[in-house]
């Protein structure tokens, strides 16, 4: 399946639209964190480099013709902290990518979520930390309520 599917969320789906990448500069001048786009396609190349890892993806347009999409990630320094390697995305893999589109340029987005063919989900480091931090916040609130 390689038909592009695009969803604009305009802020309703906060999880998908949350600012995702921190690195050597803010992403806000380039990517629109209030919108989200999802495409399905085939990995052409994954460059696991600094300051930003880059993915090139072939996505079929409505006529079935492949269109190159670019996905920008945090850098290798950031991704390596959560266990990514240069082989985390391999050429030929079928994946579905959700990201924040650019303000201006077409067919380019900042990484928010990837789902692989085997249903493996890849998330940015910040998103992976969310559950742990929320658990700490809930425990803190619970202990406050229990204290005299």
């Amino acid at each position: 399946m390689s038909v592009a599917r695009t969803i604009l969320c305009l802020g309703q789906v906060l999880l998908l639209c949350a600012a995702t990448v921190t690195a050597h500069h803010a992403f806000s001048p380039v990517y629109d964190s209030k919108r989200s786009t999802t495409v399905a396609g085939v990995v052409v190349e994954f460059r696991f480099v600094n300051p930003h890892a880059m993915l090139t993806l072939d996505v079929a347009d409505d006529a079935g013709k492949p269109v190159k999409w670019t996905v920008e990630f945090a850098g290798q320094l950031n991704l390596a902290e959560i266990g990514w390697t240069k082989d985390s995305l391999k050429p030929g893999e079928q994946i579905t990518v959700t990201g924040n589109p650019t303000h201006v340029v077409s067919h380019q987005m900042a990484f928010v979520r990837i789902v692989k063919a085997d249903a493996t989900v890849l998330l940015p480091a910040a998103a992976q930390r969310t559950d742990i931090l929320e658990q700490e916040r809930r425990e803190r609130a619970r202990s406050r309520k229990q204290s005299p």
Binding site: A18, A19, T22, A23, H24, H25, A26, F27, S28, P29, V30, D32, R47, V49, N50, P51, H52, G75, Q76, L77, N78, A80, E81, T102, H103, V104, V105, R129, T130, I132, L133, E134, E136, R137, R140, A141, R144, K145
Partner: protein
């Protein structure tokens, strides 16, 4: 086996342990450090924070009215508070005229220009501290693969040397604390999105937490051009001996940027 021999063996085993405990204080900081652990406060100070911001975040977390808000929301509120109540109130009119800088004007984004000292010392990811000979230490950062030389013999910058991006740093030990003083920094940007002048003067104090797991930085930043009074900024790292600083050589400026978008 005689009791004397056993005692001698026990002493020989104990000796190296005592030796480690008495090793020079500076060895406590040398090595690789990286992103702090996943706790609310450690992540709040993963890049930079202030006591004002920490106190505000604690107050927000302790307020039952905020129990429905996420950590991200509360951290953003505390961050906004420290920007307004601590940073902005200390900026001079000269600095306020362009504060806060539009991220679309960041030369790191537009031209892949490496950061100056007032951002680099709070950069995310690794910091490797290592001695380079008897009279100098190197601070090697993952972000930008930047390296700072810290002269431990107190030498002044050569006469006539122009201010540089990362300045001239001298260091000394105060007990277990590495104190690094930096001058001769070229005018540039701060991590709080303000401009600073070449009169910048920074004193960094690096200490290891009592459990050894964290490296803590307290930096006092002064600049009569941009600051009415010095500001004290904090940042922390966790001990990460297996972390690796990878090459940082594929920076490409964006094709287009949009101004006026808040990060």
């Amino acid at each position: 086996m005689s009791r004397g021999l056993i005692l001698l063996m026990m002493m020989s085993l104990a000796w190296p342990i005592e030796g480690i405990a008495q090793s020079p204080p500076k060895s406590k900081l040398e090595g690789m450090w990286s992103d702090p652990p996943v706790t609310i406060m450690a992540r709040f100070c993963a890049s930079w924070c202030t006591d004002a911001g920490i106190e505000r975040l604690n107050a927000l977390l302790d307020n039952p009215a905020n129990d429905g808000k996420s950590v991200a929301q509360l951290s953003a509120e505390a961050s906004a508070y420290q920007n307004d109540s601590y940073i902005k109130s200390r900026l001079t009119p000269a600095a306020l005229s362009s504060y806060p800088l539009d991220p679309a004007d960041d030369p790191g984004l537009l031209k892949c220009e490496p950061w100056g000292l007032a951002r680099q010392m709070f950069a995310p990811h690794q910091l490797q501290i290592r001695p380079l000979g008897p009279d100098r230490m190197e601070l090697h950062y993952g972000e930008w693969d930047a390296r700072r030389m810290v002269y431990m013999d107190g030498r002044r910058p050569p006469a006539g040397q122009a201010p540089s991006r990362l300045g001239h740093s001298t260091g000394r030990w105060e007990g277990d604390t590495l104190v690094v003083e930096t001058i001769s920094v070229a005018a540039n940007l701060t991590i709080w999105r303000a401009r600073h002048s070449d009169q910048l003067h920074v004193v960094e104090r690096f200490t290891r937490s009592s459990d050894g797991a964290m490296l803590q930085l307290t930096a006092t930043v002064a600049d009569p051009w941009s600051l009415r009074e010095p500001v004290v900024i904090k940042r922390n790292w966790r001990w990460a001996p297996t972390s690796i600083i990878a090459p940082y050589d594929e920076c490409k400026p964006p094709i287009a940027v949009k101004r006026g978008v808040t990060p």
